[in-house]
């Protein structure tokens, strides 16, 4: 069972459809108790950093996420859901992120923003989530901000958009991708399939 965290930010239908297509069951929930006991969590999201944190706090999902990660649940943050794991973001300098991963979220400069469209990933190291994905595969991005983890060892893929930025991480049971696997055709579905097949 894949638990999809619903905090009012973004396209949950597409995530649900992608897992259904892969034959995996999903549960979409905003209930902190269910999130806390979940074994596999998807943390999607598009939109504004500040608004997202406000929603998470109001629904008391922030602490539930932390607890489930501590218990060892496999966790995949997508796009804004990936960025929210960090300490802070230039999008909302006064707001604290979830602070689960050390590092910050920065805004692109001197390029057209948002970055919208298909860009390639350069695979930095082996990762469970990138199994079977060829180097330089194209994924679909839609974002104006990118993450900069403090610990470079967790970076598993990078992407070039005016500058080279971190597009995927793996840190123990935590995975994060800046692109949208649910909108990246076959290669994207492969990533979600890898997540489904992870052993807990």
């Amino acid at each position: 069972m894949i638990t999809v965290i619903d905090y009012g930010m973004g396209n949950l239908r597409s995530i649900e459809n992608a897992f259904r297509y892969l034959g995996a069951k999903t549960k979409i929930t905003d209930n902190p108790k269910e999130i806390e006991k979940a074994k596999k969590l998807i943390f999607p999201g598009v939109g504004n950093f500040r608004k997202a944190i406000e929603n998470l706090k109001r629904k008391k999902i922030d602490s539930a996420i932390k607890k489930s990660i501590k218990k060892g649940a496999s966790f995949l943050g997508i796009c804004l859901g990936f960025q929210l794991l960090f300490e802070k973001s230039e999008e909302a300098p006064k707001v604290q992120g979830l602070n689960i991963i050390k590092g910050k979220v920065l805004k692109f400069k001197k390029v057209k923003i948002p970055q919208i469209g298909w860009n390639q990933i350069e695979i930095e190291k082996k990762s469970k989530i990138l199994q079977g994905i060829k180097d330089y595969s194209f994924f679909y991005f839609m974002h104006s901000f990118y993450v900069e983890p403090l610990d470079k060892e967790i970076i598993v893929a990078k992407t070039n958009y005016g500058k080279v930025f971190c597009s995927a991480i793996e840190s123990k049971n935590i995975f994060g991708v800046q692109f949208h696997p649910e909108k990246s055709g076959e290669v994207g579905l492969k990533i979600l399939k890898n997540f489904v097949q992870l052993k807990c």
């Binding site: 459809n17 504004n48 948002p114 919208i116 298909w118 679909y140």
Partner: protein, 254 residues
């Protein structure tokens, strides 16, 4: 590097049960091309980069039908989907996002109420808000039209493009009304002017007739994406062949 995108537009008549994709010439419809979700799936499998559904009926009744079309499409098509036509407010947009749309595109409602662009981008993020501009060439400027090209506004397309970018639009879908349906090529001058005036991506539309047109709109028109409809519907250009051609010519495509 970020790839240049090829976008398929499905102009959809929702007056018919379930909806049909139509092809219009200069904003007047002529023939039916198929069921919207079936065509979308065909393009997805052929390697299209994005799909745009445009509700050409844009009536109150058609809105729910479009929600159904999006819902059906998203079950089997795993790429970005944009919906435009008749979206007037946050509520309309929300229904489409819930059904699985990634972006919505607005034209008439934005010109009549520019604040809507700001409200939409604040609610759903800039990346989800496309402003469509239908531009008609005048002597030394370009005029914006609304209501599917039926009404002219006196608004200058370049200033309007700058304005919507400031208001938080994430992309501009720029249609040349002079070229639409003519297959004589994109309006390169118009596309380049708009693309160089704003710091958000521009999708060029109107006039695609052969592969070379796509090459020039990327190289000379500075477009970030290029859109076509009938060319793909009736298989005059096949998507894999178009991409192969562009790659050979040095354009970065997926």
């Amino acid at each position: 590097m970020l790839a240049k995108r090829i976008v398929a537009c499905l102009d959809t008549d929702l007056g018919i049960k379930g909806g049909r994709v139509v092809k219009g010439i200069k904003f007047k419809k002529i023939r039916y091309a198929g069921l919207p979700w079936e065509l979308a799936e065909r393009y997805y499998k052929e390697g299209i980069d994005e799909i745009v559904f445009l509700d050409i009926t844009a009536s109150h009744e058609s809105r729910q039908t479009m929600v159904e079309v999006v819902r059906k499409t998203c079950q089997r098509v795993f790429i970005s989907i944009t919906v435009g036509g008749g979206i007037r407010n946050i509520k309309d947009a929300k229904k489409l996002f819930r059904a699985g749309a990634d972006k919505i595109s607005i034209n008439t409602a934005a010109i009549q109420n520019p604040r809507l662009v700001k409200e939409l981008s604040e609610s759903f993020g800039s990346q989800a808000v496309v402003v469509a501009i239908d531009a008609k060439r005048r002597k030394d400027w370009f005029e914006c039209a609304i209501y599917g090209g039926r009404k002219f506004t006196g608004v200058d397309a370049i200033s309007w493009a700058k304005k919507v970018a400031e208001l938080g639009a994430g992309e501009i879908l720029l249609t040349s009304m002079d070229r639409d349906g003519t297959k004589s090529g994109f309006d390169l001058g118009l596309t380049r002017k708009i693309s160089e005036s704003v710091s958000i991506p521009v999708i060029a539309s109107g006039g695609a007739g052969k592969k070379e047109h796509f090459l020039e709109v990327f190289k000379k028109g500075k477009a970030d994406a290029a859109l076509a409809a009938s060319l793909f519907h009736f298989k005059e250009i096949k998507i894999p062949e178009l991409k192969k051609y562009l790659k050979e010519k040095g354009v970065n495509v997926r």
